[in-house]
C-alpha cells in the first residue's frame, strides 16, 4: 500500500494510519455482519409483534369497532369486562378446563415416558412411534377424532356402554361431560411432547440410585416414588407450566370437538375473544379481554422463566 520511494518516517506514519483504518474496518465489519444477520428478524418483530401489541393495548382503551375513528374511552372496557358475566363464564370455564387438562396430560405423558424407559419392556421402538403419532394430528383433526369417538348416537364409546347394558351418555349435550371429552382429547394430543421432556429427564437420573435402591430391596413402585419422581421435579414443574399455557390458549381443538357448546357453555377465553372481536366486531372490548388473558399467560411464563433459569431445567 505504501510507495517504496517514501522516506522511512512517512512510511511509519502511514503504517500507523493503516492500523487504525484496519481496526475501524474490523469494528464496522463486526457491527455490520450481525446487523445483516438479524435485520430481517427485527423487521418481522416490529411488524408482526410490536405493532400489533401496541395496537392491541391502545385499542383496549377505545371503543373501536373495526371501522371509523376509535374514540378514547379510558378504562371503561376493563370495568365493563369485570362486570360481564359472559366473560367470567369463559374465564372460569377455561380455568376449570386447565385444572383438569393439565394433571391428566401430565399423568399420561409421565406414564408413557416411564413405560418407554423401563429396562425390561419389549417393543419400545414401535411403541415410541405410536406414542408420537398424535403429535402430528392437528388440533382440528384431534377434535374431529374425539367427536367421532364420543358421538351420542353413533360414537364408539356409547356403543360399548350400551353393549355393557348402560344408557347412552350425553357426551355432547351435557356441558361437563363435553368438557371432559375435551380434556381427554387435549391429553391425547399433547402427551407426546411432554413425554419427550420426561424421557430426557428420566434418562438423566443416575443409574446408581436405582442400583442402590434395588440392593436395599426397594420394589418398582418405591423406586418410582422415591427416586424417579423427586429427581425429575424440575421437569415436572416445567411440563405443568407449559401445559397450563397451552390449556389457557385452547381454541382450535374445542372448535372442532363441540364448537364451544352445548350453547356457549364451553366457550373458552380465546373463543370469547375471537367471537367478540370478529363476529360482534367489538374490537376495543375484545382487546381488553385479550389483555386480561395476556396478564394471566405472562404470570405463568414468568414463573416458568424464573424456575428454568434457576434450576436449569432444560
Amino acid at each position: 500500500m505504501t510507495l517504496p520511494t517514501l522516506s522511512p518516517s512517512s512510511s511509519a506514519h502511514r503504517a500507523g494510519e493503516d492500523g487504525r483504518r484496519v481496526r475501524r474496518r474490523r469494528i464496522s465489519r463486526y457491527r455490520l455482519a450481525p446487523f445483516i444477520f438479524t435485520v430481517a428478524t427485527a423487521v418481522l418483530f416490529g411488524l408482526f409483534f410490536l405493532w400489533p401489541g401496541v395496537l392491541g393495548l391502545s385499542y383496549s382503551l377505545t371503543d373501536y369497532r373495526g371501522w371509523g375513528e376509535p374514540e378514547f374511552v379510558g378504562m371503561s372496557n376493563y370495568t365493563d369486562l369485570f362486570g360481564d358475566s359472559e366473560f367470567y363464564q369463559s374465564l372460569g370455564r377455561t380455568l376449570l378446563y386447565a385444572a383438569f387438562a393439565v394433571p391428566v396430560g401430565y399423568c399420561l405423558a409421565l406414564a408413557m415416558a416411564v413405560a418407554l424407559t423401563t429396562k425390561r419392556a419389549r417393543g419400545k421402538t414401535p411403541a415410541r412411534i405410536i406414542f408420537f403419532v398424535p403429535w402430528l394430528v392437528s388440533p382440528i383433526v384431534a377434535g374431529v377424532i374425539w367427536r367421532w369417538m364420543f358421538g351420542e348416537s353413533f360414537g364408539f364409546v356409547n356403543y360399548i356402554i350400551r353393549l355393557l347394558g348402560g344408557d347412552s351418555v350425553q357426551w355432547a349435550s351435557n356441558a361437563d361431560l363435553s368438557l371432559f371429552v375435551a380434556v381427554l382429547a387435549s391429553a391425547w394430543g399433547g402427551a407426546a411432547f411432554n413425554m419427550l421432556l420426561f424421557i430426557a429427564a428420566i434418562s438423566n437420573v443416575p443409574q446408581s440410585y436405582y442400583e442402590a435402591a434395588e440392593l436395599d430391596g426397594a420394589n418398582g413402585r418405591q423406586r418410582f416414588w422415591y427416586i424417579t419422581l423427586p429427581s425429575i421435579a424440575p421437569t415436572s414443574v416445567l411440563v405443568i407450566l407449559l401445559s397450563s399455557l397451552t390449556a389457557m390458549k385452547e381454541f382450535a381443538m374445542i372448535q372442532a370437538l363441540n364448537g364451544g357448546g352445548p350453547g356457549t357453555q364451553n366457550r373458552l377465553i380465546v373463543q370469547y375473544i375471537y367471537e367478540t372481536g370478529f363476529e360482534r366486531s367489538l374490537v376495543g372490548y375484545a382487546s381488553a379481554a385479550s389483555m386480561v388473558l395476556l396478564v394471566i399467560l405472562m404470570v405463568i411464563a414468568i414463573i416458568q422463566l424464573r424456575i428454568s433459569k434457576r434450576k436449569n431445567a432444560w
Binding site: 463486526y30 418481522l44 408482526f48 413405560a115 417393543g123
Partner: protein
Amino acid sequence: MVTTDALTVPPKKRKKYDRRRGHGEIRRSIFPTTMLWVLAALMAFPLLWFLLSSFKPGGELFSYPLSFFPREWTLGGYEDAFERIDFLRYLGNTFTVAAVTTIITVFLCASTGYALAKYKNPWLSVLGLCVLSMTMLPGEVILNPMFMVVRDLGMYNSLLGVIMPSILTPTGVFMFRQFYLTVPDELIDAARIDGASEYGIFLRIMVPLARPIMLTLAIVSFQWRWNDYILPLIILGDPDQFTLQIALRSLVGAENINWSVLLSASVLSMIPLILLYLVFQRYVTSSNINAGLKD
C-alpha cells in the same frame, strides 16, 4: 403381545439361558411390557377407529352393531371428499404456506441465532430481549390487531398474510443460539485468520454444522404451519385461499355434518405429515429437542 413374545423365543436360545434366570427375565418383563402396550393401544385406538371408519360406506357408519373393521371396504368417502370440496386446492395452499414459511424460518432463525450467540453489541442485546418477550405474548392475544396490521399491509386474504407473521419463532432462534453457543470461538477465529468473511464463515462453516438442528426445526415448523388454525382463520376470508384446517373446520361446523366426507378429508389431511414423520422421525424424537419447542 407378551405371550407371543414368550412363544417366539426359539427353544435353542432359551436353553442357552440359565433356566431360572431366563424365566425370571420373561416374568419380570411381563408387567412393563403389558403396561407399555396397553398405553400404546390406548393412544392408537382413537386414530385407528377413525382411520377404519373412513373406509366404511356411509350407511355402515351409523348402523348398529358397529364393527371395528369395515364389513365392506370402500373408497366412496374419499371420492366424495375430492368431489364435494376443493381438496387439491386446499392441499396446495396448505403446502405452499407450510413449505415457504419453513424454508424462510430455518434460515432466518439460523442467522439470528448465530448472531445472538457469537457477536456482542447493544443492538443484539436488545434484539435478544425482544425475541424472548415473544414467548410471553402468543398470537392468541393479538388476534384483532394482527388482522388490522395484515390488512393495512395489503396482505388480507392472501397466503402471504399467513406466511409473513409466522416466520419468526422465538423457539427456532433459541434453538440455534443454544447450538452455536456450543461451537468453539476458535473455529471462527481460525476462519477469520484464513481470510474468510463474516458471511462466508456463517454460510460455509456454521450452516453446515447446524444441519441436524435445521432439520429438526424444519420438521417442527412444517408441522406447526400445516396444522395452524387461528392465523389462517382470521387472515383468509375467501374459500379459494383456505388451508386444509379451515376447510375441515367448515365441514365440522356445518349444521349437518357429512361424516363420510369429513372422515376421509381429515385422514387425507394427515398423510403428508405422517410420511414426513416416518422418514425423519429420529430428528424429532431425539434428545436435542428442548422445552422451548412449543409453538
